[in-house]
Symmetry: D2
Subunit: 270 residues, 4 copies
């Protein structure tokens, strides 16, 4: 599956405002960036952060006045694999060091509070893949997707009690349950095909059998149709725009389509 | 100042339990490890994590039955400097990439909620060092040190409302306020001279003028008398012992003294 | 001051829904109801609750389909007095029994958490009226009135941390601080003159010197311009509409004007 | 069943402290007080509050120095009936006015947050008694009784997430679920036979079929073995001792035994 993803963001910054922007496709073995372009108008001094193990790509800048940011990429998810029930889990000692922070509770994922529930509900399941799939099925059976059910401060604890949320809330609760079961889990912002209305999507990934496996806890988007952007402990880490002071949104458009040459089956590489 | 630090930890693990242990002195330009020893009985297969930018040193193991862990080190803090009011702050764009995660809210430090208060109370102060010192003075004037005032789930928000806490709570509130003011701040567990009763201590450090500066928000221990151990977003990251399932504490002794050769002034290197 | 108050409420109830409606002016020595009318269309079997000590008047009904409720009253606030700094406070033993529940924490007013702060900030003030006025001044100096700053779950604790809120939030924080200082305080929904945009208002009252004194913690409306409706521990008790299941709002209009004969100065009693 | 209940409380009050004491058996149709005595040493000016509909009996006093309070009563629970599955529930309009406050959320029972869960889990059950029994069975199946699992600020929301608590936590969660299902529910402090270790117990009661029915959500004590003391919205209302400032506990002994004449079967009335 080749996807053509793009975002168009326009803001007004009243005064010199520092910003961190996370809209570029992440580097990952299972999502190959075929082409991409990034335009910022007017020109600004962009600081590109080096991708670390997570593959996340962000840039920083100081903006003022009207700013227009446009990103476009063609991404090949051909190597993406779906989690299977038999995917093996690791003990703490076997985990690579970079996975350890994703075992710990975070701002919106207080996994420490879910130890008893997770153990009661999922503790009898042995295989790592099976555990994660059981968590996803539990979310689907017990939490309603309700637009407007949450706000910027909503945590996994709130969602667990109130039994309703949006993609971000499903993600936080799914992550919390996995961490409470000793499976490293981290939040991922993503471009997603056929999301209605189109927007950035929130999903998560778990570390099993030597790699990170993407899952969509809302069940709305097959993993082949997702392109990772930001990757972090929870929504606090992966905002597409963080600013040191306020700004006014003028326009925000996110678009994801299958790449044209794929639809025609021409096989031409982009 | 040379400090001789040690910890003696004894636990009983009922069944095979994975553990992360964080009791070794961290690597940092301002704390030079002169000598150290680590003994685990019975022998176990220890996985030593490579220190990253933070300098934190942790090891992992799978334990069962009675386990005794003993660590001892002599550390020279001679290069440790105290934060001064004029220490320069960085804009977001100037910060090194490794400092960015410490601008974000975390499990016990929901800095996003303190934006208005921090701005009202400290927003007029210009210099970075002066801001942090003002935060420390505010904590000292408004929060009481009260043993037993908090529990393992207590957040900076709870402490801000209840106006009482222990070292961990002072640390979480101090970090939250600094992050809300765009100053990277992170939690540090530490060996501390003359703490009464002796125990691991919790303090924090801020990123200003190209480096991390240690501060003790309780005001109890001069920074020269601290030896960093774990370093992370908040207490969730820096526990001296994390386990995949429960264990029973048998004994825990923490000891910090000034190094003998220093007291006699003999100057003999250890 | 004579006020003419009215509310027009229209809803659609999908199925038989039980409702408690609180829109009538309360009975109180300092607000004399000169005339009033209540119309419900279509006709329903209204259960009028007897006003208790609080003077609150509510009615209950089972609704289905489109329902229109209209209430109108002329109320004379001529006897309403403003709290003065020297108004005397009572010890617990002196308080009338009916005031005791309003010393206790409630859903949105966890006064138990504010004991230390209240004592530090206001504990040195002796006179009851002076204490309450100091609380109001503190609110005005430290909390911003920001539309949309809160949601239906926001507590006094949230508002204290986030330093912003609407009338309901100012009320909850004011009540919490008074209760933490051993002054009975309760929430009041009210008709308010010159509120912009017109809406139901939330204020509170404190028990001092043998009576309940109204105050507006937002400072927006002089107490002579308020007409009490519901009275309870906090917003959970005084909703103008509570329903056993959902309903759809069609229209809600609240109107408060000075009574016409007053504006012409004719002196004719209504 | 006749029970002989007693409590012995000894405190030291540093300065003049106002206190509300709730240790006397409540008045209720299903618990007949056969005899009772109350002694306070040294003598104090006790203000006895008149029992309202709830039947709760409290007294207030101003204490200083060492105070010893001793209460003893013989109570006949012969008329106490157990809730049965077919016990009829009321619509909001049918409820007596005095039951309405116990439909609303309170400090430790934020029933508003449990609407979705309660509806999903119990919404299909018709009969009132059956609903409440299903709630009790759910508590028993999903929450562990764990001493020390909670603290004074723990709410029903915390307990629902953490899946562990003590009698007070079971009570708060049970009340929250019943209120979310439109069944009035209120907290009751009680003397309880065979509680180990002996202490005041927390249970709750629900309003069904024209009366209040006691239930013990921990399942530890049959309702015939309970004697109601305080009755309120939640633990905030029914503390056996509330004080305007601190005091030091010297001794607290609670004792409940079956009345001797009952054990010998002599039939002599007390």
């Amino acid at each position: 599956m080749k996807l053509c993803v793009s975002s168009d963001l326009a803001y007004t910054f009243q005064s010199d405002t520092h910003a961190i922007i996370s809209i570029q496709a992440a580097l990952a073995p299972d999502q190959k960036i075929m082409s991409e372009s990034l335009h910022v108008e007017p020109e600004a001094d962009l600081v590109f952060d080096a991708p670390d193990e997570r593959g996340e790509r962000r840039f920083r800048a100081c903006f003022s006045g009207d700013v227009h940011i446009r990103y476009e990429a063609i991404v090949d998810n051909g190597l993406r694999q779906e989690l299977t029930p038999t995917t093996h889990r690791h003990t703490w000692s076997e985990l690579p060091q970079h996975a350890l922070p994703f075992l710990m509770p975070s701002r919106y994922c207080p996994s420490d509070k879910f130890m008893s529930f997770a153990q009661r509900q999922f503790g009898h399941i042995d295989q790592g893949g099976e555990v994660v799939i059981a968590v996803l099925e539990w979310l689907s059976a017990h939490i309603d997707y309700v637009s407007g059910a949450s706000h910027s401060g909503t945590t996994a604890e709130d969602t667990f009690v109130q039994r309703a949320g949006v993609c971000r809330d499903f993600t936080h609760l799914g992550i919390s349950l996995c961490r409470a079961l000793s499976i490293p889990a981290r939040a991922v912002s993503a471009y997603a095909l056929d999301l209605d209305p189109p927007d950035f999507h929130a999903v998560f990934e778990v570390y099993l059998d030597g790699g990170w496996w993407l899952v969509d806890p809302t069940g709305m988007v097959p993993v082949k149709n997702l392109v990772r952007i930001g990757i972090g402990r929870d929504a606090a880490d992966i905002a597409f725009l963080s600013t040191s002071s306020g700004c006014e949104l003028i326009e925000q458009t996110v678009r994801v389509v299958t790449s044209p040459n794929q639809r025609t089956g021409s096989g031409t590489s982009v």
